[in-house]
């Protein structure tokens, strides 16, 4: 019943202040995304309009498999995408020694893609994806061929199919090529890009709201009154966390579904979208909970405001950042931004609409949430009452 008390109060409080919260968490970021997205449309080139890539191939393996690969790149199917050159290339594809053997044994022997000054990170990424798919296909063919040669009796066909399917499942759990090319924002439309940018803004805003709510409860005496009731510190923390989680889910869902309804973003699998929202909300809630435990109000607000500004500036100027210093700033932002995990998961969802592309991000978010939760619990246990 105590948990019900917290949940009911959060829901009632939200309903009674719904207009205000809608404006802050939904309307404002949505409008911002729409306006900036509209005026930035031309900077975001869809994949279908990407020009032919000029590539140079450096074969260090010189195996049958590497030759097949080179023939594939020179083939008719790839004419519209790549042009093989000896010099003045935009991309240098290096096939390392051991590639052929690695391919047949399903080992990681990455094909390197070097992007020159004239190249684009986004196109390089697309090339990497194509190479990935090719290698997967090659490996599957090899497996099937090998199995059929070995097993020709009818009664072994069932076993053969099972083995092939097993191998296929294994392949799709591992990438055969690693590359240092970041997932490009240019593969997204401007609306999709900014929908993620302002989702991050909303994340920080909600965290700020949760943290401020907690401090108001302490300053106003509500916390003291609650703790004078028969409830432990841990119970209070957990009930507060769960009710905050529900609050965060509501507004995250509202945000993404609004974009979806307008057909501008998050239009992939609904099931995956909800999973991402649930797990991303879990991470955001736990981050807010820990911050409110370890930092004073002013410090946590200052940090979150700074992160919000960095995120918005970074998101709005991302296309320009890609052009600076071989895109190093853009890469730094993608890798080290505080919401990098959340952004990359949504981005993969938008680009690939495939569970495999988001599962690593989801797992990392779950693990991070768990770690934050445990740290928070320890802090609650050890923090003495008067320190609140």
């Amino acid at each position: 019943m105590k948990l019900l008390a917290f949940i009911k109060t959060v829901l009632k409080s939200t309903l009674k202040n719904l207009l205000n919260q809608l404006l802050i968490f939904s309307v404002f970021p949505l409008l911002l995304g729409l306006v900036i997205g509209y005026f930035s449309k031309d900077q975001f080139v869809p994949s279908s309009e990407i020009p032919v890539m000029k590539i140079m191939i450096n074969d260090e393996d010189n195996s049958i498999e590497s030759n097949y690969f080179i023939e594939f790149l020179k083939g008719q199917e790839m004419e519209s995408l790549v042009e093989i050159r000896e010099e003045d290339a935009q991309y240098i594809v290096t096939i390392p020694d051991g590639y052929g053997e690695g391919l047949l044994n399903n080992e990681n022997v990455p094909v390197e893609i070097g992007v020159t000054e004239e190249g684009s990170q986004s196109q390089g990424n697309m090339l990497a994806e194509i190479i990935d798919k090719y290698n997967e296909g090659m490996y599957i063919n090899h497996i099937i061929q090998k199995s059929i040669e070995e097993k020709t009796l009818p009664e072994e066909r069932e076993a053969l199919f099972q083995r092939v399917y097993g191998k296929i499942a294994e392949i799709y759990n591992r990438g055969l090529i690693e590359n240092n090319i970041i997932t490009t924002k240019k593969s997204l439309t401007s609306y999709e890009h900014f929908s993620i940018t302002f989702l991050s803004y909303m994340l920080f805003m909600m965290m700020t709201s949760l943290i401020n709510g907690e401090y108001i409860a302490r300053e106003s005496g509500v916390y003291s009154r609650i703790m004078a009731a028969p409830i432990t510190n841990i119970q209070y923390f957990n009930y507060n966390l769960i009710s905050s989680y529900i609050f965060v889910i509501m507004f995250n869902l509202l945000y993404v579904l609004t974009y979806r309804v307008f057909g501008l973003s998050f239009t992939g699998s609904m099931f995956m979208l909800i999973i991402i929202v649930l797990i991303q909300s879990l991470l955001g809630t736990n981050m807010a909970a820990l911050l409110s435990l370890i930092l004073k109000k002013k410090a946590s607000n200052a940090i979150l405001s700074a992160l919000m500004i960095v995120q918005i500036i970074g998101g709005v100027t991302y296309v320009q950042l890609e052009k600076i210093g071989d895109g190093v700033l853009a890469r730094m932002l993608d890798k080290y931004a505080p919401d990098a995990l959340i952004v990359s998961t949504y981005r993969n969802y938008l680009i690939y609409d495939d569970f495999n592309s988001i599962k690593t991000g989801l797992m990392l978010m779950i693990v991070a949430s768990l770690v934050l939760y445990i740290i928070s619990l320890i802090r609650v246990k050890t923090k003495r009452g008067e320190a609140w």
């Binding site: 009911k8 409080s13 106003s220 009154r225 009731a229 028969p230 409830i231």
Partner: protein, 312 residues
């Protein structure tokens, strides 16, 4: 056994001792006043007694339960009216009561009945569906109390409940405190820096200053700490001026001041005889209109014992 036993409670913040070896007992049915100036340690002691803060020494036993060992059992018996308006301002009075009712294990029909009862008792029944941020200060204070009495606590702790409110609401709170003590035998712990409130409501008093006990006991014994004198006010008329000198000569009269027909006497309890004064007045042609005995106020007790006014 007393309902509440506070034994040798000490509390420090860094090197500063905010509570120094406080010991007191409160019996069931007491209206216990905890008084002292701002910063004396009243709220700190309340926070320790309600389990919000840990003490650095000593123990609190409530109804036989050690607060440190069985905090939840202790908290079930306490209703706290905090000094702050500890309410969710964005939701209604009813929603606030529902929330706190749930915390005390109330639910369903019982919760609804208790909410209605609390609203009735505090005079807020008509405002149940209004948001708290629309309430006046006095109404918020009353709702503050309503949230504390939902679960019918044995012990009601009221931490400066009348700060910043209008006289009507203040009186309402006084009447409520007397009623809940009389009708339900609820033990009330009432903290204030307004001595007159405590003087009016409480039968037992603990005066605290700078974290230390200044005086403790029932009101009479505390007041007798500063003076063994009775103060008597006699309103008389038609008397000769020599009468005052004659009264001053009487045994047990320590002081006699006359001011526009009002004779103020400070008399030793043990040796003074009122009949002797009355005879002197009569023999000097005076006629008596009224006689009143006046006790020192708690504020005067505080001043006498600490050398400071309460509001310094």
């Amino acid at each position: 056994m007393s309902l509440i036993e506070v034994k040798n409670i000490t509390k420090r913040f860094g090197h500063k001792v905010v509570l120094d070896n406080i010991t007191l007992t409160i019996d069931e049915g007491d209206v216990f006043g905890l008084i002292g100036p701002n910063g004396a340690g009243k709220s700190t002691l309340i926070k320790i007694m309600t389990g919000l803060w840990d003490s650095d020494g000593g123990e609190v036993i409530i109804d036989g339960y050690d607060l440190k060992k069985e905090p939840l059992k202790v908290k079930e018996q306490i209703g706290l009216v905090p000094q702050e308006i500890a309410l969710f301002e964005g939701i209604t009075a009813y929603d606030n009561l529902e929330f706190f009712g749930y915390l005390y294990g109330l639910k369903g029909r019982q919760l609804k009945e208790r909410i209605d009862e609390a609203l009735e008792v505090t005079g807020l029944k008509d405002r149940r569906k209004e948001k708290v941020n629309k309430f006046s200060g006095g109404m918020k204070r009353r709702l503050n109390i309503a949230c504390a009495i939902l679960h019918h606590p044995r012990i009601l702790i009221m931490d400066e409940p009348t700060v910043g409110i209008d006289p009507q609401s203040r009186n309402h709170i006084f009447e409520f405190t007397k009623r809940i003590n009389k009708e339900n035998n609820t033990t009330v712990i009432y903290t204030s820096h307004y001595m007159e409130e405590v003087e009016m409501l409480c039968n037992k008093v603990f005066i605290i200053d700078l974290g230390q006990e200044v005086a403790y006991g029932d009101k009479k014994s505390i007041k007798s700490m500063i003076s063994n004198n009775d103060r008597i006010l006699i309103e008389a008329f038609d008397y000769r001026r020599e009468m005052i000198q004659a009264i001053k000569q009487l045994p047990g009269v320590n002081e006699c001041i006359e001011e526009k027909g009002l004779i103020k006497l400070l008399a030793d309890k043990n040796s003074f005889r009122l009949e002797a004064v009355l005879k002197v007045i009569e023999s000097h042609g005076g006629r008596i209109k009224s006689i009143n005995f006046e006790e020192p106020s708690l504020e005067e007790v505080f001043l006498a014992l600490t050398g400071r006014n309460l509001r310094d």
